[in-house]
């Protein structure tokens, strides 16, 4: 049936371009809303001049391309530092976003990304700092640290997975509890360790940077493209992981099984797919991805980890929810959504440096985008539901087949 085939393809292409459009619209609305916020705050505050307000709006929209000021006016152009920093900051939230997106595709809400991120951080730092680099090659230490962190994250993520599979405990509740358990365990481990930063006496509750042990993520040539920035090869690894996950989820039998269990656990079980095993695996994969996020951020070498985390959870886990939402759970889309979110952070830094505004304005933008993308999902759902109802009414499923066409022709003749 070549005819229906073509129709189908067209429809699915249309559907995905619609999804992309929805994401772009929510980004646009978010940016406009941010600009308006800046403008209102600027206009109402007697300390901020009209020129500063105008600059603020410009930086919200184009902060990535800001190159500072010359003669009092903002200048714009390609800024390698901004670009590099954007990629560096995007790395962890791309991976936590991927973790949440993959879990969502399998019908699970992984709100435990923060805890998994902490477990990954802890495992990678512990190994990177405790294996002496004069005995083992630093690159090997890096690889061990990265691998162990992913394994640790997978085991940690599997806990809520097992609770769900065997005891039918909702994964959201189990994940939230696991987050705080992770925070306390990590604090306790570093409390007891001898990895505390004692070289810089002013710092308490900080771990040594991994460069202390000569371990750092390879730059992979990116420092030549973006000189002066914090960028390293982590972003390339993150993108490769995203592509790999896309292949796994959409091309392999394994991904098919995971999605089948997510979409209808009972039908999957009936068809002989091991539903319990797949639920645990989904959560383990999500855990490994979030842990990889933590590992790539802290193995960079120049990042500091504040180990007293029992009071607050890392934001990367929650930013991941926004990233997954904006990317509509598409592993490739996550790369762009994560980059966009971190671009906003860069814009915020520029705002702080160059105007009287502070970077928290960008949180308003992120919040608006999250709301709008959630809304657009809801609206899409409502639209689909309405369509379905109409389908039911006229039983449209049967209408477009070739076999019906003669009947239609008859009707016209009559």
């Amino acid at each position: 049936m070549p005819k229906t085939d073509k129709n189908g393809l067209m429809k699915s292409e249309k559907q995905s371009s619609k999804t992309l459009l929805a994401s772009l619209i929510s980004i646009l609305i978010g940016l406009i809303f941010g600009a308006i916020t800046v403008w209102i705050v600027g206009s109402l505050s007697p300390d901020i001049s009209a020129k500063d307000t105008g600059d603020g709006v410009k930086l919200i929209l184009m902060g990535l391309f800001s190159t500072g000021r010359s003669g009092g006016a903002l200048t714009f152009g390609f800024n390698p530092v901004n670009f590099g920093n954007m990629l560096f900051r995007a790395t962890p939230i791309i991976l936590t976003g991927l973790s949440i997106a993959v879990a969502n595709q399998t019908g699970l809400f992984n709100i435990g990304a923060s805890g998994q991120y902490l477990v990954g951080t802890c495992a990678s730092l512990y190994i990177a700092l405790s294996i002496p680099s004069d005995k083992v090659h630093p690159v090997l230490i890096w690889l061990i640290a990265f691998a162990v962190s992913m394994v640790a994250g997978a085991l940690w993520g599997a806990i809520p997975g097992m609770l769900k599979a065997f005891l039918n405990i909702n994964e959201v509740i189990a994940c939230i509890m696991c987050n705080w358990i992770a925070a306390n365990i990590v604090t306790w481990i570093f409390d007891a360790s001898n990895l505390k930063n004692t070289a810089e006496g002013t710092k308490t509750a900080y771990i040594y940077k991994t460069t202390y042990n000569n371990v750092a993520t390879s730059k992979m040539g990116l420092d030549k493209i973006f000189p002066g920035s914090q960028v390293n090869g982590g972003i390339i690894i993150a993108i490769l992981i995203c592509i790999a996950m896309w292949v796994v989820m959409s091309k392999t039998t394994f991904g098919y099984q995971l999605k089948a269990c997510g979409a209808n656990r009972y039908a999957a079980k009936y068809a002989g797919i091991a539903d319990k095993r797949n639920i645990i695996l989904s959560m383990a994969i999500a855990g490994a991805l979030s842990s990889a996020a933590g590992a790539l951020y802290y193995l960079a070498g120049n990042t500091e980890f504040y180990w007293s985390t029992y009071q607050s959870l890392p934001a990367a886990g929650f930013s991941g929810i926004a990233v997954a939402l904006l990317a509509v759970n598409n592993p490739i889309g996550v790369i762009f959504a994560g980059s966009f979110m971190s671009m906003l952070t860069v814009c915020g830094t520029q705002l702080t440096y160059l105007t009287p505004f502070n970077e928290y304005i960008t949180d308003v933008i992120i919040a608006v985008i999250v709301y709008i993308s959630a809304f657009s999902l809801i609206i899409k759902m409502l639209l689909n539901r309405k369509k379905e109802k109409e389908y039911d009414k006229r039983d449209g499923g049967e209408l477009k087949t070739d076999k019906e066409t003669p009947a239609k022709a008859e009707r016209k003749e009559a």
């Binding site: 049936m1 039998t253 099984q257 979409a263 999957a268 079980k269 002989g272 109409e390 009707r411």
Partner: protein, 533 residues
Amino acid sequence: MAENEYVIEMLHITKKFPGIIANDDITLQLKKGEIHALLGENGAGKSTLMSVLFGLYQPEEGIIKKNGEVVKINSPNDATALHIGMVHQHFKLVDVFTVLDNIILGAEDTKLGFLQKKTAREKVEQLSKKYGLYVDLDAKVENITVGMQQRTEILKMLYRDNEILIFDEPTAVLTPQEIDELMVIMKNLAAEGKSILFISHKLNEIMAVADRVTVLRKGKYIGTVNTKDTNKQELSNMMVGRPVQLQVVKDEAKPGEVVLKLENFSVPSEIHKGNAVKNVSFDVRRGEILCIAGIDGNGQTEFIHGLSGLSKSSGKIILCGEDISGYSIRRRGKNMSHIPEDRHKHGLILDFTLEENLVLQRFRESPFQKGGFIDRAEVRKYAERLIEQYDVRSGQGPITQARSMSGGNQQKAIIARELDRNKDLVVAVQPTRGLDVGAIEYIHSQLVQERDEGKGILLVSLELDEVLSLSDRILVMYEGEIVGEFLSKDVTAQELGLYMSGAKRMGELEMEKVEEAELKAAENTEKGGNEDA
């Protein structure tokens, strides 16, 4: 004037949707005090027509008259004002409210802003007595039976003084006993002067209760006939548009070797402690359709779950000479295919496409899987073949979302998937539930064909008609035990009913004789055949 004979007239109604004429010049005239059936297959336009009458859709052409006067129905509120009421197929009740609260909801009597439940209760009690609609007014809806929920819906309509009552497929959710009760209620209502529109595709019920029938097919008006002057065959031909085989056509069974043997098979209940299936032993042979009959809730669901591996069971399950009782669901599927009872829960993944659903068990097999990757082109080719072969109709072929397909085609997709796996044992649970005559005919003929190819068919059905017409041998399950065994040609519905309700029970020896008799009969026919040759 003759006009006043009709309480509602829908004249030359045409309703179009993009790409389809759902109602094409349809005329329906409802007399006062009659039960008028609206008959048609799924998608014939019955629901659209009723939605027009109920004010949910506006027709492009045509007029609606009430008592001879033209009326305009723009919304359900207008319909209510004209005393038109509808009992939907899926009840619209608030689960945590009592029956009384549900009945008065939206039409509450108030005095100074306070509910006047006492007067409401009196009115409802009066109505329920008058029409024989027994309900427990103070029970919460979530705790009462489906039949009582339906009576609540009917009382809701009567409480609002409706004169025209629309019943949308009211029997789909009821047990045989509840259906009988409903028929009596409908007749009472008509006798009291209410006019009833009864939407259905079940011919038995229409013949039993309706005065006249209007038949629709593919959006067109086919005709209106008096039930007195017609018969089931004529009605089904009108509905489908070609002569339909109401009786299952099949030759005598030729039972061969045993394909499935159950020994002391027990399955724990999903509701209470203790066993729902108790020490059941029987054989299914190649070339026969063995049916497990019984009233819903006598252990059939647990039996199937135990057999398929969804729940734990004890005793032996010997399939093709191999004891599979300890095996996983997947390993049990090696020689068994399975048409599940609940096609939405167990049969399909509704958010997946048709082609993805068609390989739900086979995606690991070659050629669909190559090195861990799914070969989409092969899946597409396979899906296209099944769609063609089993005539599964859908909007976009292989990539249609299963959710958007009609119930009959969803079931056809499951049948295609299961029968194409070509296993020695086919387990079919309620394979025709909720389907129309055309689809039922098709599915029955497919199962008979499988039987004739030498497969063993284990059928579980709640519908006596299906049990008697499709199966070769019948086992009756009552409270988890097999209480009777019959050859379907030797037994009547009444006789079966006695065993199904637990009033009668067979001894083991007697049951053994039945299978022997079947084998002997088959032998005789074979011999006879040989002699003829």
